[in-house]
Protein backbone atom coordinates (compact mmCIF):
# COMPACT_ATOMS: atom_id res chain seq x y z
CA UNK A 1 0.00 0.00 0.00
CA UNK A 2 1.30 3.43 -0.91
CA UNK A 3 0.46 6.43 1.22
CA UNK A 4 0.23 9.59 -0.78
CA UNK A 5 1.77 12.55 1.06
CA UNK A 6 -0.54 15.54 1.07
CA UNK A 7 0.19 19.06 2.35
CA UNK A 8 -2.01 18.27 5.33
CA UNK A 9 -0.02 15.13 6.07
CA UNK A 10 3.18 17.19 6.00
CA UNK A 11 1.90 19.74 8.49
CA UNK A 12 0.45 17.06 10.75
CA UNK A 13 3.73 15.15 10.70
CA UNK A 14 5.55 18.38 11.58
CA UNK A 15 3.20 19.04 14.50
CA UNK A 16 3.66 15.48 15.75
CA UNK A 17 7.44 15.95 15.70
CA UNK A 18 6.95 19.21 17.54
CA UNK A 19 4.83 17.48 20.19
CA UNK A 20 7.42 14.75 20.63
CA UNK A 21 10.23 17.28 20.98
CA UNK A 22 8.14 19.33 23.43
CA UNK A 23 7.46 16.37 25.75
CA UNK A 24 9.81 17.69 28.40
CA UNK A 25 8.44 21.24 28.29
CA UNK A 26 5.81 22.17 30.88
CA UNK A 27 2.46 21.02 29.53
CA UNK A 28 0.95 24.49 29.21
CA UNK A 29 4.06 25.76 27.42
CA UNK A 30 4.07 22.79 25.06
CA UNK A 31 0.38 23.29 24.34
CA UNK A 32 0.90 26.98 23.68
CA UNK A 33 3.76 26.30 21.28
CA UNK A 34 1.63 23.74 19.45
CA UNK A 35 -1.23 26.17 19.19
CA UNK A 36 1.04 28.97 17.95
CA UNK A 37 2.67 26.85 15.26
CA UNK A 38 -0.60 25.28 14.17
CA UNK A 39 -2.18 28.72 13.94
CA UNK A 40 0.84 30.02 12.03
CA UNK A 41 0.58 27.22 9.46
CA UNK A 42 -3.19 27.58 9.12
CA UNK A 43 -2.88 31.29 8.42
CA UNK A 44 0.26 31.35 6.38
CA UNK A 45 -0.47 28.49 3.97
CA UNK A 46 -2.91 29.29 1.19
CA UNK A 47 -5.71 26.73 0.66
CA UNK A 48 -4.31 25.58 -2.65
CA UNK A 49 -0.73 25.19 -1.44
CA UNK A 50 1.19 22.31 -2.93
CA UNK A 51 3.57 19.98 -1.18
CA UNK A 52 6.58 22.03 -2.16
CA UNK A 53 5.02 25.17 -0.73
CA UNK A 54 4.34 23.38 2.54
CA UNK A 55 7.90 22.11 2.77
CA UNK A 56 9.25 25.61 2.17
CA UNK A 57 6.96 26.99 4.88
CA UNK A 58 8.03 24.30 7.32
CA UNK A 59 11.68 24.93 6.51
CA UNK A 60 11.09 28.61 7.24
CA UNK A 61 9.63 27.71 10.60
CA UNK A 62 12.70 25.71 11.57
CA UNK A 63 13.25 22.27 13.06
CA UNK A 64 10.82 21.39 15.90
CA UNK A 65 13.62 20.62 18.34
CA UNK A 66 15.13 24.06 17.71
CA UNK A 67 11.80 25.70 18.53
CA UNK A 68 11.50 23.65 21.70
CA UNK A 69 15.04 24.55 22.72
CA UNK A 70 14.20 28.21 22.20
CA UNK A 71 11.01 27.78 24.19
CA UNK A 72 12.89 26.25 27.12
CA UNK A 73 15.47 29.04 27.18
CA UNK A 74 19.08 28.48 28.20
CA UNK A 75 18.60 28.74 31.96
CA UNK A 76 15.32 26.90 32.23
CA UNK A 77 16.20 23.60 30.64
CA UNK A 78 16.98 21.69 33.82
CA UNK A 79 14.07 23.20 35.69
CA UNK A 80 11.81 22.44 32.77
CA UNK A 81 12.99 18.84 32.59
CA UNK A 82 12.38 18.46 36.31
CA UNK A 83 8.89 19.85 35.94
CA UNK A 84 8.11 17.28 33.32
CA UNK A 85 9.14 14.35 35.46
CA UNK A 86 6.06 12.21 35.95
CA UNK A 87 4.33 11.91 39.34
CA UNK A 88 5.22 8.26 39.70
CA UNK A 89 8.91 9.06 39.23
CA UNK A 90 8.68 11.52 42.09
CA UNK A 91 6.80 8.88 44.09
CA UNK A 92 9.61 6.37 43.53
CA UNK A 93 12.21 9.01 44.41
CA UNK A 94 10.21 9.87 47.53
CA UNK A 95 10.01 6.23 48.59
CA UNK A 96 13.74 5.74 48.04
CA UNK A 97 14.56 8.92 49.99
CA UNK A 98 12.19 7.92 52.78
CA UNK A 99 13.83 4.47 52.86
CA UNK A 100 17.29 5.99 53.08
CA UNK A 101 16.21 8.39 55.83
CA UNK A 102 14.57 5.54 57.76
CA UNK A 103 17.66 3.35 57.40
CA UNK A 104 19.87 6.21 58.54
CA UNK A 105 17.60 6.83 61.51
CA UNK A 106 17.58 3.15 62.47
CA UNK A 107 21.36 3.01 62.14
CA UNK A 108 21.70 6.15 64.23
CA UNK A 109 19.44 4.74 66.92
CA UNK A 110 21.05 1.31 66.97
CA UNK A 111 24.68 2.15 66.31
CA UNK A 112 25.31 5.44 68.01
CA UNK A 113 24.39 4.10 71.49
CA UNK A 114 26.94 1.37 70.90
CA UNK A 115 29.47 3.87 69.73
CA UNK A 116 28.79 5.98 72.77
CA UNK A 117 28.70 3.09 75.22
CA UNK A 118 30.82 3.90 78.27
CA UNK A 119 34.16 2.20 78.79
CA UNK A 120 34.13 -0.75 81.10
CA UNK A 121 35.32 0.15 84.55
CA UNK A 122 37.77 -1.61 86.76
CA UNK A 123 36.71 -2.64 90.23
CA UNK A 124 39.24 -4.02 92.69
CA UNK A 125 42.43 -5.60 91.52
CA UNK A 126 45.62 -7.36 92.60
CA UNK A 127 49.19 -7.07 91.55
CA UNK A 128 50.74 -10.45 91.04
CA UNK A 129 54.20 -11.88 90.93
CA UNK A 130 55.46 -15.38 90.61
CA UNK A 131 52.60 -17.86 90.94
CA UNK A 132 49.26 -16.27 90.32
CA UNK A 133 47.50 -17.35 93.44
CA UNK A 134 46.07 -15.78 96.52
CA UNK A 135 49.31 -16.21 98.40
CA UNK A 136 51.40 -14.02 96.15
CA UNK A 137 48.89 -11.41 95.24
CA UNK A 138 48.95 -7.92 96.60
CA UNK A 139 45.79 -5.86 96.52
CA UNK A 140 46.01 -2.67 94.52
CA UNK A 141 45.42 0.24 96.83
CA UNK A 142 43.06 2.82 95.42
CA UNK A 143 44.77 6.17 94.73
CA UNK A 144 48.02 5.03 96.40
CA UNK A 145 51.02 3.39 94.82
CA UNK A 146 51.04 -0.34 95.31
CA UNK A 147 54.61 -1.55 95.46
CA UNK A 148 55.36 -5.10 94.46
CA UNK A 149 58.81 -6.57 94.82
CA UNK A 150 59.80 -8.56 91.79
CA UNK A 151 60.71 -12.03 92.77
CA UNK A 152 60.62 -13.70 89.39
CA UNK A 153 60.42 -12.83 85.76
CA UNK A 154 56.72 -13.64 85.75
CA UNK A 155 54.62 -10.66 86.70
CA UNK A 156 51.23 -9.22 86.13
CA UNK A 157 48.03 -8.17 87.77
CA UNK A 158 44.49 -9.20 88.04
CA UNK A 159 41.55 -6.89 87.97
CA UNK A 160 37.82 -7.08 87.43
CA UNK A 161 36.11 -5.24 84.64
CA UNK A 162 32.48 -4.33 84.82
CA UNK A 163 30.30 -3.53 81.83
CA UNK A 164 28.29 -0.55 83.01
CA UNK A 165 26.71 0.18 79.62
CA UNK A 166 23.54 -1.11 78.01
CA UNK A 167 25.21 -2.96 75.15
CA UNK A 168 27.33 -6.08 75.04
CA UNK A 169 31.06 -5.54 74.75
CA UNK A 170 33.55 -8.06 73.43
CA UNK A 171 37.12 -7.90 74.64
CA UNK A 172 39.35 -8.74 71.69
CA UNK A 173 42.68 -8.45 73.44
CA UNK A 174 45.15 -5.91 74.66
CA UNK A 175 45.79 -2.74 72.76
CA UNK A 176 49.07 -2.74 70.87
CA UNK A 177 50.58 0.02 72.97
CA UNK A 178 53.03 -1.04 75.72
CA UNK A 179 51.74 -1.02 79.25
CA UNK A 180 54.03 1.69 80.49
CA UNK A 181 56.20 2.25 77.50
CA UNK A 182 58.66 -0.62 77.93
CA UNK A 183 56.85 -3.72 79.07
CA UNK A 184 55.92 -5.95 76.16
CA UNK A 185 54.69 -9.44 75.30
CA UNK A 186 51.70 -9.61 77.54
CA UNK A 187 49.29 -12.44 77.89
CA UNK A 188 45.66 -11.70 78.45
CA UNK A 189 43.26 -14.13 80.02
CA UNK A 190 39.71 -13.37 80.89
CA UNK A 191 37.27 -15.12 83.16
CA UNK A 192 34.82 -17.19 81.18
CA UNK A 193 32.00 -16.44 83.64
CA UNK A 194 30.89 -13.78 86.04
CA UNK A 195 32.56 -15.14 89.18
CA UNK A 196 32.87 -12.04 91.25
CA UNK A 197 34.34 -12.86 94.64
CA UNK A 198 35.52 -16.38 93.83
CA UNK A 199 39.18 -17.15 94.62
CA UNK A 200 41.48 -16.49 91.71
CA UNK A 201 42.76 -20.04 91.65
CA UNK A 202 39.23 -21.41 91.31
CA UNK A 203 38.31 -19.28 88.37
CA UNK A 204 38.31 -20.47 84.81
CA UNK A 205 40.13 -18.22 82.38
CA UNK A 206 40.08 -18.24 78.60
CA UNK A 207 41.84 -16.28 75.91
CA UNK A 208 40.16 -13.37 74.16
CA UNK A 209 37.73 -12.74 72.60
CA UNK A 210 35.31 -12.81 75.46
CA UNK A 211 31.85 -11.28 75.39
CA UNK A 212 30.64 -9.38 78.42
CA UNK A 213 26.95 -8.68 78.67
CA UNK A 214 25.67 -5.44 80.22
CA UNK A 215 25.93 -5.53 83.99
CA UNK A 216 28.35 -8.45 84.01
CA UNK A 217 31.70 -8.71 85.68
CA UNK A 218 34.82 -10.51 84.45
CA UNK A 219 38.20 -11.14 86.00
CA UNK A 220 41.11 -10.23 83.76
CA UNK A 221 44.69 -11.35 84.22
CA UNK A 222 47.41 -9.53 82.35
CA UNK A 223 50.84 -11.06 82.74
CA UNK A 224 54.17 -10.92 81.09
CA UNK A 225 57.62 -12.40 81.36
CA UNK A 226 60.22 -9.85 82.13
CA UNK A 227 63.32 -11.27 80.53
CA UNK A 228 65.56 -8.26 80.55
CA UNK A 229 68.29 -7.68 83.13
CA UNK A 230 67.10 -5.03 85.52
CA UNK A 231 69.10 -2.56 87.42
CA UNK A 232 68.67 -2.70 91.21
CA UNK A 233 65.77 -0.65 92.45
CA UNK A 234 64.44 -0.33 88.92
CA UNK A 235 60.73 0.37 88.95
CA UNK A 236 58.04 -0.41 86.45
CA UNK A 237 54.91 1.56 87.09
CA UNK A 238 51.62 0.64 85.49
CA UNK A 239 48.51 2.69 86.05
CA UNK A 240 46.19 1.50 83.34
CA UNK A 241 45.62 -1.12 80.69
CA UNK A 242 44.24 -0.54 77.20
CA UNK A 243 41.86 -3.17 75.88
CA UNK A 244 40.68 -3.60 72.31
CA UNK A 245 36.93 -3.86 72.56
CA UNK A 246 34.29 -4.43 69.89
CA UNK A 247 30.85 -2.94 70.43
CA UNK A 248 28.44 -3.75 67.63
CA UNK A 249 30.21 -2.80 64.43
CA UNK A 250 32.72 -0.54 66.17
CA UNK A 251 36.10 -1.49 67.55
CA UNK A 252 37.84 0.83 69.95
CA UNK A 253 40.41 1.00 72.72
CA UNK A 254 39.18 1.24 76.27
CA UNK A 255 41.44 2.51 78.99
CA UNK A 256 41.03 0.48 82.16
CA UNK A 257 42.41 2.37 85.14
CA UNK A 258 43.73 0.07 87.81
CA UNK A 259 42.63 2.38 90.59
CA UNK A 260 46.12 3.34 91.60
CA UNK A 261 49.65 2.94 90.24
CA UNK A 262 51.21 -0.48 90.56
CA UNK A 263 54.95 -0.26 90.96
CA UNK A 264 56.95 -3.40 90.19
CA UNK A 265 60.29 -2.88 91.98
CA UNK A 266 63.53 -4.72 91.60
CA UNK A 267 64.83 -5.38 95.15
CA UNK A 268 67.84 -3.45 96.36
CA UNK A 269 71.15 -5.30 96.00
CA UNK A 270 72.47 -7.20 98.93
CA UNK A 271 76.09 -8.13 99.59
CA UNK A 272 75.51 -11.45 97.91
CA UNK A 273 73.90 -10.10 94.73
CA UNK A 274 75.60 -8.14 91.97
CA UNK A 275 74.78 -4.50 91.34
CA UNK A 276 72.95 -5.46 88.18
CA UNK A 277 71.17 -8.74 87.95
CA UNK A 278 68.78 -10.66 85.82
CA UNK A 279 65.70 -11.77 87.67
CA UNK A 280 65.47 -15.36 86.93
CA UNK A 281 62.48 -17.53 87.50
CA UNK A 282 64.77 -20.39 88.43
CA UNK A 283 66.46 -18.43 91.18
CA UNK A 284 63.31 -17.02 92.74
CA UNK A 285 60.69 -19.68 92.29
CA UNK A 286 59.41 -20.96 95.56
Amino acid sequence: MTITETPQHETEAYLRRLDRAARWLPRDQAAELHEQIESHLAESLPPDVDQRGVREALAQLGEPHVLVREAAGPRRRLRTRLRRVRWWTWTVVGIVVAGLVSTATVLAVTLIPEYRAPDMICSCGFALTSHFDNVHEREIEPFNATEVALRSNHQGFEFDIYNTGHVTQTVLGLDSRPLNGYLHNYTLRIGSRDEDGAPLTNRRFVAAPVTIAPGQDRAVVVSWNHLECSAPRAEYTVTSVYLRVRIGPFTRSEKIDLGGPVVFKVPKPSTTTPATRCISAAAHEH
Binding site: L33, I37, H40, Q60, G62, L67, E70, A71, A72
Partner: protein, 122 residues
Protein backbone atom coordinates in the same frame (compact mmCIF):
# COMPACT_ATOMS: atom_id res chain seq x y z
CA UNK B 1 31.79 36.02 6.12
CA UNK B 2 30.62 35.98 9.72
CA UNK B 3 30.37 32.75 11.64
CA UNK B 4 26.77 31.43 11.58
CA UNK B 5 26.58 30.75 15.31
CA UNK B 6 27.84 34.27 16.08
CA UNK B 7 25.08 35.71 13.93
CA UNK B 8 22.52 33.45 15.56
CA UNK B 9 23.59 34.66 19.01
CA UNK B 10 23.48 38.26 17.83
CA UNK B 11 19.99 37.79 16.41
CA UNK B 12 18.82 36.08 19.57
CA UNK B 13 20.00 39.06 21.59
CA UNK B 14 18.20 41.70 19.53
CA UNK B 15 15.08 39.84 18.49
CA UNK B 16 13.22 40.43 21.76
CA UNK B 17 13.66 44.23 21.68
CA UNK B 18 12.64 44.20 18.00
CA UNK B 19 9.42 42.35 18.86
CA UNK B 20 8.80 44.80 21.70
CA UNK B 21 9.36 47.68 19.26
CA UNK B 22 6.78 46.24 16.86
CA UNK B 23 4.25 45.80 19.64
CA UNK B 24 4.92 49.32 20.86
CA UNK B 25 3.25 50.55 17.65
CA UNK B 26 0.14 48.40 18.10
CA UNK B 27 -0.96 44.95 19.19
CA UNK B 28 -0.16 42.25 16.66
CA UNK B 29 -0.94 38.58 16.20
CA UNK B 30 1.77 35.97 15.79
CA UNK B 31 1.93 35.62 12.02
CA UNK B 32 1.83 39.39 11.65
CA UNK B 33 4.88 39.76 13.89
CA UNK B 34 6.70 37.03 11.99
CA UNK B 35 6.00 38.70 8.66
CA UNK B 36 7.01 42.13 9.87
CA UNK B 37 10.28 40.79 11.17
CA UNK B 38 10.85 38.72 8.01
CA UNK B 39 10.75 41.93 5.98
CA UNK B 40 13.88 43.09 7.76
CA UNK B 41 16.78 41.35 6.13
CA UNK B 42 18.81 38.97 8.28
CA UNK B 43 16.95 39.52 11.52
CA UNK B 44 15.44 36.04 11.81
CA UNK B 45 17.05 32.66 11.36
CA UNK B 46 13.73 30.83 11.33
CA UNK B 47 10.18 32.06 11.69
CA UNK B 48 9.31 29.50 14.30
CA UNK B 49 11.67 30.90 16.91
CA UNK B 50 9.51 34.00 17.25
CA UNK B 51 6.75 32.00 18.98
CA UNK B 52 8.87 30.67 21.85
CA UNK B 53 10.16 34.22 22.22
CA UNK B 54 6.62 35.55 22.48
CA UNK B 55 5.85 32.95 25.13
CA UNK B 56 8.95 33.94 27.10
CA UNK B 57 8.12 37.65 26.85
CA UNK B 58 4.61 36.86 28.06
CA UNK B 59 5.80 34.81 31.01
CA UNK B 60 8.19 37.66 31.91
CA UNK B 61 5.24 40.09 31.87
CA UNK B 62 6.82 42.19 29.13
CA UNK B 63 4.01 41.24 26.76
CA UNK B 64 0.39 40.27 27.33
CA UNK B 65 -1.80 38.25 25.02
CA UNK B 66 -5.49 38.22 24.29
CA UNK B 67 -7.64 36.08 22.03
CA UNK B 68 -9.70 38.05 19.52
CA UNK B 69 -12.30 36.65 17.15
CA UNK B 70 -12.89 39.17 14.34
CA UNK B 71 -15.82 38.77 11.98
CA UNK B 72 -15.04 36.38 9.14
CA UNK B 73 -11.65 35.51 10.47
CA UNK B 74 -10.29 32.73 12.61
CA UNK B 75 -9.58 33.43 16.26
CA UNK B 76 -6.17 34.99 16.81
CA UNK B 77 -4.02 35.57 19.80
CA UNK B 78 -3.01 39.22 19.87
CA UNK B 79 0.10 40.33 21.70
CA UNK B 80 0.48 43.75 23.35
CA UNK B 81 3.38 45.37 25.10
CA UNK B 82 3.03 45.92 28.87
CA UNK B 83 4.35 48.75 31.03
CA UNK B 84 7.30 46.60 32.01
CA UNK B 85 7.91 45.85 28.32
CA UNK B 86 7.89 49.55 27.53
CA UNK B 87 10.39 50.23 30.27
CA UNK B 88 12.62 47.40 29.02
CA UNK B 89 12.42 48.75 25.46
CA UNK B 90 13.35 52.26 26.56
CA UNK B 91 16.35 50.93 28.44
CA UNK B 92 17.42 48.85 25.48
CA UNK B 93 17.16 51.78 23.10
CA UNK B 94 19.56 53.83 25.17
CA UNK B 95 22.04 50.99 25.48
CA UNK B 96 21.75 49.93 21.85
CA UNK B 97 22.56 53.40 20.47
CA UNK B 98 25.79 53.48 22.41
CA UNK B 99 26.55 49.84 21.66
CA UNK B 100 25.97 50.18 17.90
CA UNK B 101 28.07 53.35 17.77
CA UNK B 102 30.95 51.60 19.50
CA UNK B 103 30.76 48.58 17.22
CA UNK B 104 30.53 50.77 14.11
CA UNK B 105 33.53 52.77 15.22
CA UNK B 106 35.54 49.57 15.44
CA UNK B 107 34.25 48.00 12.26
CA UNK B 108 34.41 51.09 10.04
CA UNK B 109 38.13 50.99 9.26
CA UNK B 110 37.86 47.33 8.21
CA UNK B 111 34.81 47.69 6.02
CA UNK B 112 34.16 51.32 5.01
CA UNK B 113 30.98 50.21 3.22
CA UNK B 114 29.29 49.48 6.52
CA UNK B 115 29.83 53.02 7.73
CA UNK B 116 28.46 54.39 4.48
CA UNK B 117 25.34 52.21 4.71
CA UNK B 118 24.83 53.19 8.35
CA UNK B 119 25.07 56.87 7.40
CA UNK B 120 22.60 56.43 4.56
CA UNK B 121 20.10 54.62 6.78
CA UNK B 122 20.29 57.22 9.49
Amino acid sequence: MANQSELTELRRGVLAPCVLALLEERPRFGLEIVRDLARLDGLMTSEGTVYPLLTRLTSNDLVSSLWRHDEGQRARRYYSITEAGNARLRAFRGEWTQFARSVDALLDPIDPGVAEKTRQRS
